[in-house]
């Protein structure tokens, strides 16, 4: 439309500058080595998992890891909190359950439709809420999550009410997904995919824009970053991921109750992202593992497990305020110097 207003004479290119610039780009090893290690560990894990119970524990961790990664994009990168993510998870789960059980839909189409509907719902909520500053999204999603739980509990003719409902097996491309050992590779694959996609996103211009708007919203807007649009899109993305995981988990568990959408579950997801480390993909994976395992590990404290659980969380936030993984990474870097 018009001539460039800055002559290219501003700033000279020199081999030194170019080299210095390129040295700041994240290297292949730094970016991909941890992912490769994760993939190898997940591939070898079945060799040491003794029985279905342990498979189940790991699958729950993996499902939570995917949820926490997606939620962390919103919390850690957009600085927004959703206290209703279990609501989206629950809508995905019940969407799949109801469409496959009552309406004889195939599992993949039920999953897709549930995800799209949840995406639209999240978009509508975000459109209205994200124009406002502050913690309105947390309040709105808190309310939304509670509404979802109430509806799932009361619409007993469709959902079975508080007693829950059973969900059939998932069939995809002629494969019947049944049992822990079949589901394990599905969830393991999803975690690796989530880590890779989220990693790419964070390093892309979109990810840079997200981090920038978290650092200074007005500065981000001035360089043309549409902050409301970014927050909306990331919120929708994380809600859709929650819905998809809800659908898959429903088929995996075979039986769901409105508890899957509970406020408690929402808080648990936020805690995973925050304790593991905000704006840290590996923090989310670690947080998911920790929060999924802690209740089991603390079980033999009989009655005191909630107290100990609370102490651990509070201590983490006091002593490692940036979250476990980023804080430890920083410590290690300092040691290495």
């Amino acid at each position: 439309m018009s001539e460039a207003s800055i002559p290219t004479t501003i700033g000279r290119s020199s081999p030194e500058t170019t080299a210095a610039a390129l040295a700041t780009a994240p290297g292949f090893r730094a970016r991909h080595l941890p992912t490769i290690v994760l993939a190898i560990v997940l591939a070898l894990l079945p060799l040491v998992l003794p029985n279905a119970y342990y498979y189940d524990v790991v699958i729950r961790i993996l499902a939570n890891a995917v949820l926490a990664i997606a939620l962390n994009l919103l919390i850690g990168y957009c600085g927004q909190i959703s206290l209703g993510h279990a609501g989206f998870f629950g809508l995905g789960a019940y969407g799949s359950a109801i469409l496959t059980t009552h309406y004889d839909w195939t599992a993949p189409s039920a999953l897709l439709v549930s995800a799209v509907v949840v995406g639209l719902l999240a978009w509508l909520v975000a459109r209205v809420i994200l124009r406002l500053k502050g913690h309105y999204l947390a309040m709105a999603t808190l309310g939304l999550g509670i509404i979802v739980t109430i509806v799932l509990t009361n619409e007993a003719s469709l959902t079975g009410g508080p007693d829950g409902m059973s969900v059939g097996d998932m069939r995809i491309f002629g494969l019947r997904l049944y049992g822990e050992k079949v589901w394990y590779p599905v969830f393991a694959g999803l975690v690796v995919v989530a880590v890779v996609l989220a990693g790419n996103l964070v390093e892309s211009p979109a990810g840079r824009a997200l981090r920038a708007l978290h650092g200074s919203e007005v500065a981000a807007r001035v360089v043309g970053i549409d902050t409301a649009s970014f927050k909306t899109r990331v919120f929708v993305l994380s809600a859709v991921v929650a819905a998809i995981m809800g659908s898959l988990t429903a088929h995996y568990l075979g039986f769901i109750t409105p508890q899957v959408a509970s406020f408690h579950k929402s808080v648990e997801l936020v805690t995973m992202a925050v304790v593991g480390g905000m704006a840290s993909i590996w923090g989310s994976v670690f947080g998911a593992a920790l929060l999924s395992l802690l209740p089991d590990l603390l079980a033999h404290f009989e009655g005191f497990e909630t107290v100990i659980f609370g102490v651990i969380l509070v201590a983490t936030m006091i002593f490692l305020p940036r979250g476990i993984v980023p804080s430890l990474a920083r410590l290690l870097r300092r040691e290495g110097r």
């Binding site: 018009s2 460039a4 207003s5 800055i6 002559p7 004479t9 501003i10 700033g11 000279r12 290119s13 500058t17 170019t18 210095a20 610039a21 390129l22 040295a23 700041t24 780009a25 996609l197 989220a198 790419n200 996103l201 892309s204 211009p205 979109a206 990810g207 840079r208 824009a209 981090r211 920038a212 978290h214 650092g215 200074s216 007005v218 500065a219 981000a220 807007r221 001035v222 360089v223 043309g224 970053i225 549409d226 902050t227 899109r233 990331v234 993305l237 704006a279």
Partner: protein
């Protein structure tokens, strides 16, 4: 290039900017000066979309931009820096500068996830350009640094580099020398002069009179939200109103 007419902004009972008019010619360096609280930063925030004017108009290259959001102004080539630093401290220095190129890059979430934006090495080219601009504004030593570990003076320059990264048609500098020592102020003065020589249009708000007198082509003087005078540095220096209201009354920044 930019025409401000009868611009007014009231915050409740306080009229921070009242009926201000002036024009900025393409390729010149324009300064807005005035005592503390004269409405300079408010004027900047109005033009750059941070505030919505109460009345009056701002016309940029033939179209009205009063009340248009900053992210849309960026698309039209308006870029700015901030008096109180607005640097994303959670980013590295070069990442901050690279955000300036946001509009020129593919910033879709899905594209980002599958790694599309780097096709053709555009990220790479942006990174190199960012380092060149950091060098140009004089913070080349911090190319590999984290923003939060940089000294104040370097961060002020970093903001200029980020603004330049957007290839702006007009650049607003909000007190570029605020908080800088003598030597640093001098260097910023040289930098602004160098920007002016490249033909980019610069509008600056500044307290440091020496800097303003040395680099500006034209000066607008504000006092209590109103335009007190306008002219070349030589004219402003001898304007009796300005001398009385500003130079004579206060000795700050000289």
């Amino acid at each position: 290039m930019l025409r401000v007419e009868n611009l007014t902004k009231a915050f409740g009972g306080v009229t921070a900017v009242s009926g201000v008019s002036f024009e900025v010619t393409k390729g010149t360096i324009h300064a807005v000066i005035g005592p503390n609280g004269a409405g300079k930063t408010t004027l900047f925030n109005l033009i750059t979309g941070v505030y919505t004017p109460s009345s009056g108009s701002i016309v940029f290259e033939g179209s009205e931009i009063g009340g248009v959001a900053p992210e849309r102004l960026a698309k039209r080539g308006i870029s700015r820096t901030f008096q109180n630093l607005q640097v994303s401290m959670n980013l590295s220095a070069i990442d901050n500068v690279m955000t300036g190129a946001h509009l020129g890059l593919n910033s879709g979430l899905l594209a980002g996830m599958i790694g599309l934006p780097d096709l053709g090495g555009r990220e790479r080219a942006t990174r190199i350009r960012a380092a060149e601009l950091m060098e140009f504004v004089g913070c080349g030593a911090y190319v590999a640094a984290e923003a939060r570990s940089m000294p104040y003076g370097a961060l002020k320059r970093l903001e200029i580099a980020r603004a330049l990264m957007a290839n702006p048609r007009i650049l607003f500098l909000d007190e570029p020398a605020a908080g800088l020592n003598h030597t640093e102020t001098h260097e910023i003065e040289d930098l602004i002069a160098a920007l002016g020589k490249t033909g980019i249009t610069v509008v600056l708000v500044e307290h440091d009179m020496k800097l303003v007198m040395n680099v500006s082509d034209r000066i607008v003087v504000l006092d209590y939200g109103k335009k007190l005078a306008e002219g070349t540095p030589a004219e402003i220096r001898v304007d009796p109103d300005v001398v009385a209201a500003y130079l004579g009354a206060e000795s700050e920044g000289v």
